[in-house]
């Protein structure tokens, strides 16, 4: 990969990670999901996804297709937390450290981002196990589900599907965010 393409890739994936975590943390916000804000975040995610794709295409067929087994340490990218912030404390709504977020990726038994189960239309529900078991994409926060009081954490059965390939993840988030309103 060329240097610039790699940078663009890294940047696009980082922005995607930040956006996804913003969407997740917005769900626990007082007052509920804000349509305007969710729309803007999903627009950013779309652009980041497009940039990532066009950057990969521009490097030609020599670049590996993004298979789940591809070592996800390209560019020595750190998993998730947003890049160093020169500005002081983020505003109240910003993505909190991921310990606060209720949703897991790795512990999801059926590999879905289950956002709004009640409001999913039948066409949306896809319980297919996706892809091959793989390590979590490096841009996703490594975190675990927040437990309700009294709940116990169960070990994920070995060999269970870990996480979807990240493009499907993005697509899933984009397709779910707005219709959930």
């Amino acid at each position: 990969m060329s240097e610039t393409t790699m940078e663009v890739n890294t940047e696009a994936r980082r922005i995607l990670a930040v956006s996804i975590s913003k969407l997740y943390s917005a769900r626990t916000q007082r007052g509920g999901l804000r349509l305007h804000r969710s729309l803007l975040i999903s627009m950013i995610m779309r652009s980041a996804r497009d940039i990532y794709h066009s950057a990969r295409e521009s490097e030609g067929p020599s670049g590996a297709q993004p298979t789940p087994e591809e070592p996800m340490d390209a560019g020595a990218e750190e998993p998730a937390p947003p890049g160093p912030q020169p500005e002081p404390q983020p505003a109240p709504n910003s993505s909190e450290p991921f310990a606060d977020e209720p949703d897991a990726t790795e512990d999801e038994g059926d590999c879905e981002i289950t956002e709004d189960k009640e409001n999913l239309s039948p066409a949306r529900q896809s319980r297919k196990r996706r892809g091959k078991a793989s390590a979590a994409p490096d841009f996703l926060p490594s975190k675990r589900a927040r437990l309700e009081p009294g709940e116990e954490r169960h070990a994920a059965p070995p060999g269970s599907c870990r996480v979807v390939p990240w493009e499907s993840l993005v697509a899933l988030s984009l397709n779910r965010v707005i219709p959930a309103f």
Binding site: G31, L39, Q89, P92, S94, P179, F181
Partner: protein, 445 residues
């Protein structure tokens, strides 16, 4: 009004609110609004309270009069609620306050949170009745057998009491979050706007409203823009505008049809390709729209700029003012810390010659339209000695920083001025920092 904008010297007048740095979330000011005479100044906060200040004028006839705003009334407008059907909490934060023009001794204002609008009556009581025949003075009923004569009750003076009472509650009309309310010039109707719909209400009727704009797509996956602000024209009772997250403004005429989905005018400026960036779509979202007092222009605020539009020209604004262009290269960081979602408001002065808006680091900006001058000022406790003149501030975008300049990286993005208001007649401004309200006055005035 004395003097063009550039000659104005702004002085500190007052600051309201707690001094300590530890800001209670409920105290965060969420809206500021002068009434039509400027005598009253209302603020709403995140805790659902409304505080009204009243102007007490010393020596108004003198050329350099000093006006002071003191607390007139405080009341809890909205409480937190829970929508059981959707399992959602409804915040009590006051999104907007709009005053009604005064018709009698009492004052009326509309205040709204995300879902419910309320009409409040604020009235003064400075007399109380005494000498009832059937009741004691403390309200207990007398034993009728003890009454031997009749007398006429009299009104006797008492200490001024200001009472706020909710007269109307306009609820259950908005699925999405209300972002604007605007009273019509007919003084009978008003509009409320949420992300996808605008409703028209009659001030007397609470159990129904008319939907006049609906941009909800049949398939929500196709949603590309939302309504961000709406306002009635100051004189034409049939005209209103609404702005969108795509940077467009639509002017609608209610005479054309009941449902104003088709705009009469669409104001949109073609995007400057040289400014195109990854975030340019979202920074074009308009956060506020305000008509000029004379009704000929309207002003819009997006993340980096303010634009003034002539209502007769749709294809581009007549004036554009950069508020903090030095932030354009920082958009990625501002996205990460959520500042890019901040919704700044803007306002006109009384004669539409100067416009004002807020920025970060507790800076606020004024643009003198006629003299093409602008100034950056700061609301801070350090500059709050009585009548202290505010020194213009300057942000150094890059290169060598001069003395007294502040570099972009030193700006405090937690200190933001989102809400400002200008007295309708005089050069008095109210500027809200996170939890303090600053009142500044032009020295000459």
């Amino acid at each position: 009004m004395a003097g063009p904008g550039g000659d104005m010297q702004w002085c500190f007048s007052q600051v309201k609110g707690a001094i300590d740095d530890d800001v209670a979330e409920a105290d965060i000011i969420s809206t500021v609004e002068f009434n039509h005479t400027g005598e009253l100044l209302a603020t709403g906060d995140k805790g659902g309270r409304v505080v009204i200040f009243q102007q007490e004028i010393e020596n108004k006839n003198q050329p350099q009069f000093r006006s002071e705003y003191n607390v007139y009334s405080t009341f809890q407008s909205h409480e937190p609620e829970f929508d059981y059907l959707k399992s959602l909490e409804i915040e009590e934060k006051i999104n907007k306050i709009r005053w009604l023009p005064q018709k009698n001794a009492a004052q009326f204002l509309l205040s709204t949170n995300d879902k419910t609008i309320k009409l409040w009556k604020i009235s003064e009581r400075d007399k109380r009745p005494e000498g009832y025949n059937l009741k004691e003075d403390d309200g207990r009923y007398k034993d009728p057998n003890t009454i031997t004569s009749l007398r006429v009750p009299v009104l006797i003076p008492m200490d001024l009491m200001v009472e706020a009472s909710p007269r109307r509650v306009f609820a259950n009309a908005h699925t999405y979050h209300i972002n604007s309310i605007s009273v019509n010039s007919d003084n009978e109707t008003y509009l409320s706007a949420d992300d996808l719909r605008i409703n028209l209400w009659h001030l007397e009727i609470t159990d129904r409203s008319f939907n006049i704009v609906d941009i909800k797509p049949a398939n929500m996956e196709e949603l590309t823009e939302v309504i961000t602000a709406a306002e009635f024209h100051p004189h034409q009772c049939n005209t209103f505008v609404y702005s969108s997250s795509k940077g467009t403004i639509r002017l609608c005429d209610m005479r054309a049809s009941a449902l104003c989905d088709k705009h009469s005018k669409l104001f949109e400026e073609p995007e400057d390709p040289s400014n195109r960036s990854f975030f340019s779509e979202i920074i074009s979202s308009i956060s506020d729209v305000k008509f000029s007092h004379n009704g000929r222009y309207m002003m819009t605020r997006d993340y980096l700029s303010m634009k003034i539009w002539d209502l007769n020209m749709e294809n581009r604004p007549v004036e554009t003012y950069q508020v903090h262009e030095y932030l354009r290269s920082k958009l990625c960081s501002l996205y990460e810390n959520d500042c890019i979602f901040d919704k700044f408001e803007c306002c006109w002065n009384g004669n539409d010659s100067v416009v004002m808006t807020g920025s970060y680091n507790n800076f606020f900006r004024m643009f003198d339209r006629g003299h093409r001058r602008d100034v950056t000022l700061e609301a801070s406790r350090e500059n709050s000695k009585p009548m202290q003149v505010l020194k213009p501030r300057k942000v150094c975008a890059g290169g060598k920083r001069k003395k007294d300049e502040i570099s972009v990286d030193s700006l405090d993005f937690n200190k933001k001025i989102l809400h400002t208001a200008w007295h309708p007649q005089d050069n008095i401004i109210a500027v809200a920092t996170t939890n303090n309200l600053y009142i500044f006055q032009d020295k000459v005035n």
